[in-house]
Symmetry: C2
Subunit: 323 residues, 2 copies
């Protein structure tokens, strides 16, 4: 299995510098924030969002260096992502993420809220200073989408009637919007023209959706060890994702279990087992594969380069996480 | 004593519409957020920030209607203020504000964080759509300043060496920056020229500082009834404000009490009494008066109008809260 690090090799040095910058930025003012920053931007992070921004920036003009603005954009994307992740973990009361205790469970709600607010504030400041109103609008839309996604996540719990389209819309808000609009912003900053800019957006959107669907499948198929949290956590909290939604169409009894919120002993275990014996996971996997193919197709016009290759490989890597 | 409502009479209808808009904006998507919005933008709010923005907008061009952009700016200022207030109350674990239970103590941390994030997100979206990069920069600076102020508030607790200048800097970050930069943005949107725009900034900054100093005095002189929280709350949490900082210069023993964080029985009550018998409150009051005079002086170039008069009256009102 390819590691994310080797996938990102064309921009590895940039990503390293970016993580150092972000640690410095967040940690410089406050002892507890410094520890939180180490925790957030330390060795554990996958840095997929800034990697995509930097690779797409290179792929869009293979002969040129990555400009300061492109680099800032990558930082902003990672700041927005991290801020929303820190606050989401407080809101969802998640104790673990990627096998590491979350900021609020290590340092308390106070530091988690401060760190998230500080990151949002920094991102909006750096964003304004990109001096590009189109990019400001794209990324401020993302911040709205993230808040909207978190609210929808709360209001659709245990709703067995959730349509797969509504699930995808929520996944767009929570995951794909940031990647899509960051990719679109690369197009704007690189001046590649409107048509190609829209394709960059499409690449980010479909890659982001595939990413979320695969994450949701792994919640059922991964071991607690690999997930860094107990398997089936999403379902248990009432978050119905692709495998469960497809299974609900096949297995009417699953609806009963979901609607009574797994209140009776053995309900949750039975639901997991019903989902596994249905075609839910298989159908979710083919939905993810479809979005990956769609994402890669948007790159077709870019000239061949090491960075373009890496962007295609990231798409494949998304699905390979399931093997 | 003049009520804030009569002070704001030239823009009363606008303020009413603004509160309705904000309730609708926050509450439309989510039942709990609707209740929180009612709580936040309901009858209790003083709406001083949007009132200042609207009055200054009118004073800058008395013959014209307030434009959509000016109105949006007033909404954005109130959204940013409210978002930071909701998160600050979680961070500071404040149970009451203005005599009303805070959002997190009524609805829990989850809703408080969501509501704050949603308001920040909405404000950054509306801000971007003002289509004015200068204003985007001014207000994103405010969001940074608010985060910085909240962090400084945490790191300077029980620091008896805090200089009055550092206290004013923190007060700028926490309170004056939003008013100052909102006023400056009125100048930018109204196209009044650079010199007058800087005076608008000065008015907001000095008014905001006076406001904060007066609030800090009231923490010592107000009754729990009027404050809506126990008197001396700030001091008890280790937040040293103007009256305490001036008293510390006169009364060496106060330092001992502060530095041991009021650990011994009677320490806190003794500190309060030492501050009351010192010239701390009197000196803080004259510091506030100085900032009020300064604020009013910045308005001198504006033509006479009902709105200009209201802006001057607001400044006086700030000090009259102490009587």
């Amino acid at each position: 299995m390819t590691s994310t690090t080797s996938l990102f090799s064309p921009v590895e040095a940039d990503l390293c510098l970016l993580a150092e910058n972000l640690k410095e930025l967040v940690g410089a003012r406050h002892h507890m924030l410094r520890i939180a920053a180490e925790h957030l931007f330390g060795a554990g992070g996958k840095r997929i969002r800034p990697a995509i921004v930097l690779l797409l920036s290179r792929a869009a003009s293979p002969e040129r260096q990555i400009s300061d603005k492109h680099f800032r954009l990558a930082e902003i994307a990672e700041m927005i992502h991290t801020a929303s992740l820190v606050h989401d973990d407080v809101v969802d009361e998640s104790a673990m993420r990627r096998g590491v205790p979350t900021v609020h469970s290590s340092f308390g709600n106070r530091i988690a809220i401060l760190a998230g607010d500080f990151l949002f504030a920094q991102s909006s400041w750096h964003l304004a200073n990109l001096d590009n109103l189109t990019v400001v609008k794209l990324l401020s839309r993302v911040i709205m989408d993230l808040a909207e996604g978190e609210i929808q996540q709360g209001t659709t719990r245990f709703n067995a009637d959730l349509a797969i389209e509504a699930y995808l819309q929520k996944s767009y808000y929570k995951t794909a919007s940031l990647i899509a609009n960051s990719c679109k912003s690369v197009g704007v900053l690189s001046g590649v023209g409107e048509a190609l800019t829209e394709k960059f957006y499409g690449y980010g959107r479909d890659l982001g959706l595939a990413f979320q669907i695969v994450d949701d499948i792994l919640d059922f198929t991964g071991s607690a060890d690999v997930l860094g949290k107990p398997a089936g956590s999403d379902l248990k909290s009432g978050h119905l994702t692709a495998p469960a939604l497809y299974a609900l169409k096949e297995v009417p009894y699953l609806r009963t279990l979901v609607e009574r919120e797994f209140a009776q002993p053995g309900d949750f275990e039975e639901a997991i087992s019903l989902i596994h014996s249905s075609r839910g996971i298989e159908r979710a996997r083919s939905l993810a594969a479809q979005h990956v193919r769609q994402a890669v197709s948007y790159l077709s016009e870019l000239p061949a380069s090491e960075s373009k290759q890496a962007l295609e490989d990231i798409s494949d890597y998304v699905l390979r996480r399931l093997n």
